[in-house]
Amino acid sequence: MPIPSAQVDQGVSSNGSNSAASASLTRFRHRKISVKQKLRIYKACDLKDLDHDELQQRELLEIETGVEKNEEREEHLHKILQNSQLKTKDLYIPTPDASRVWKEFDRFYYGKFQEPKNYIQFSAQLEDCCGPCYNLDERDEAFLNNVLNFENEGDRLSEYEFEMLMTNFESAIKERQPFLTMDPESILPYEDLKPTMLKNDIGDVGIKTELAAELQMEAGQPFLTKFDSRTGSNSRYMGILIEKYGLPVYEYWRQRKIEVVGGSVIPSLRAERGKDKDDNDPYFCFRRREVRQTRKTRRVDSQNSQKLRLLYQQLQYTKELALLVAKREKMSMDTLLKDKEIFQLRCHTKSLKRELGIKGEDEDLISQKRRKLVSNVITNKKYLVAQTEATSLKKLKTKGKDRKLAVKQPSGSDLKRQQLHFQKSDQQRQMQQQHLLQQQQVNGSQSQQDSSVVSHVYVKLPSSKIPDIVLEDVEKLLSMKERNTKRFVEDKMRRRREEDGNLFFNLTDDPYNPVFEVHIPPNIKPTNAPFSSIVSSKFEINRSYYTPNLQDYIAGASNFVSAYNKDGEVIENIKYKRLEFYNPFEDKRESHTRELPLRFRRRIGRCGIEYLDRKDINRNPNDMIEQFMDFSIINEQEENSDVINVYDSKLDELSRLHERWKYDSDYNSYGIKFSNEPSRLNQISNETQVIRFGTMLGTKSYEQLRDATLKYRQNIMAQRKKLINAQRQLQQQPQQPQSPQQQQQPQQQ
């Protein structure tokens, strides 16, 4: 087949070298067109010069042949591929005709196969079954019959034996001269080959003889193993064959060997040899595949070799065992033979004895006892028992050790004493252990106490833990604070009253608070002070009044009112010498005290009208309305249903008043009593309060820590005191004898 020369080289490399030759070998390949590659441009006049095959191959690309790239060039296939449409039917790949029936089959393949009941079990290898590797051909047959067996008719060499000899020659020469093909004439003479041949183990004879020797069987005694085929069973031994026919067969074999130029006389399939690979020779039977070697690591290698070694050991074991079994079976056979011999001897002896008329002496003639069915073999159970006993003994020993250790562990100082005790009687030991246990318990409790004290010294409060503590309600805390203050004030007042006796009393809302004349500083207004508490904290007290004899004063008997200025000095001024009774609805309104009787709120209503809402302190507007309004007048007016002026209508007045006092409440918009306001910590946001509370917790934990530390110190102090006391007592002991109770005290401690 002409190889098309590549005239289109699309894949010219950038350096411009023309790889036409190599491109022709590889299959034409489409490549991506890139700016870096030169492309040859064909003109119309060039086309007729282009190789026809080349063009055809380009067309042919589309067909998927399914065979390997190299094999597409196989002659027949290539032809078919070239005429791509398969238009001609007479194109095909020739194959040998396998359709005919071979008439002589029955001549060579006979015998009957009986299907076994169980699975077919077969361990022998093919080589074990087919006899020697060498197969007789026609030339050999002629030589065997016309030359070798013609000369010595009486002692024929069988075909099987001839094959064995030839195989032996082949294997011997392979061993001695592996490179005979280099120089076939240098083939070794018969004498040199003979020892190798004798050593060779053709047909497993060597193994058999070895086995026979090991089983102490007679040499030359033929025997068959289960794996042996029966074909060559009656052949003679190799040693005999070599001695008798070695030389003539060698001459014949040597001739043939030189004919095949030192190669194998045994015909073999042609296969790839070595590294050379010829793809074009179609008569190679098996071709190597290019298989990438798997990566082997040293670890895997060593593992595998280790495994193989173990497997070898296994087989070794098995072999030993199998050999022992074989020995035993041979022994059994010998025993049976002996039995037979004994039986025969007895028969003879008995008949002779009868003839001679001898009596007695027949202890040997009867088998006294049938062989007892008792095995002298120590079997599994006993073995196991023995093993378990051994292990239990071991266990006991270890247990004993453990026990000793266990006793050793708890105490360091009492070790020797305890060991002594341990060696004594069991009771004592138990007692000792109990005592020990008690000691341990005491120690444990002590240590526990210690640890508890120690652990309390450190109060850890990680930041994440704080939210977990149930926080007290701020409301609650505030109310408690208020309650405390109230109680404090009440207490103060109570004491004051006691001091005062019945001498003094006050007429103000809170009779035990002095009446003050209160001023608000000019820069502070109730509107910009968010809470009354702040306003009140800024109050300035200019004057205060006091009536020592209020009872009389109310009765009108006394007129005495003492007034004090802010420094507490008595003011002698008649202008202030009046105690006031406040009544907002009094016609003559004159307020002498500057206490705020009402509070106001500025409010912007509809149309931008400003209102000033008045708030009365501690007065319920509804209660007040009753005081201010005469409901009978309202009823009267309504009943009369006279048309009256809106400003004269009492009902309207009532509604107006109600409207005005609507906001007159003791509770602010948060629903808290105004009197509670001062405790609201001056409008501090919740977050800030949380921080404050956190710091409170911190102080609390600090207090706990302090307490614990104190406790701990006290504990240590107490212990030291005890120690010192004990020492003192010990020191005092030799000087003066003490009572037994006192003596025992330090020991108990």
Binding site: K307, L352, D364, V377
Partner: protein, 98 residues
């Protein structure tokens, strides 16, 4: 008569010898069986080489890297000892006695 007598004596002697031989053989047999049994026990109960299987259990795990260490075996696994009919009979006899 004398000849016969001599022959008889000879026969007697041979018989005695044969009986002795047989006794010896039986002892040997026992010894071998014991050897087999012990070796078998050693083999089956596992040693370093039985890591990947034994001839009795097979070598299924041979190609795997994991090795299982179950060296438990039953009496049925004693293929070597049990290959002797006499031994089996003896064992059965022992069991019957028990």
């Amino acid at each position: 008569m004398d000849k016969q007598r001599k022959e008889y004596e000879e026969l007697k002697q041979r018989l005695k010898q044969a009986l002795q031989d047989k006794k010896k053989q039986e002892q040997e047999w026992d010894q071998i069986q014991q050897d087999i049994f012990d070796k078998e026990t050693e083999y089956l109960s596992g040693n370093a080489s039985s890591k990947y299987g034994t001839i009795v259990k097979g070598f299924d795990g041979f190609s795997k890297h994991t090795s299982q260490d179950n060296h438990h075996f039953q009496d049925q696994d004693r293929i070597f000892s049990l290959s002797s009919a006499l031994f089996v009979k003896q064992q059965q006899g022992i069991e019957d006695e028990d």
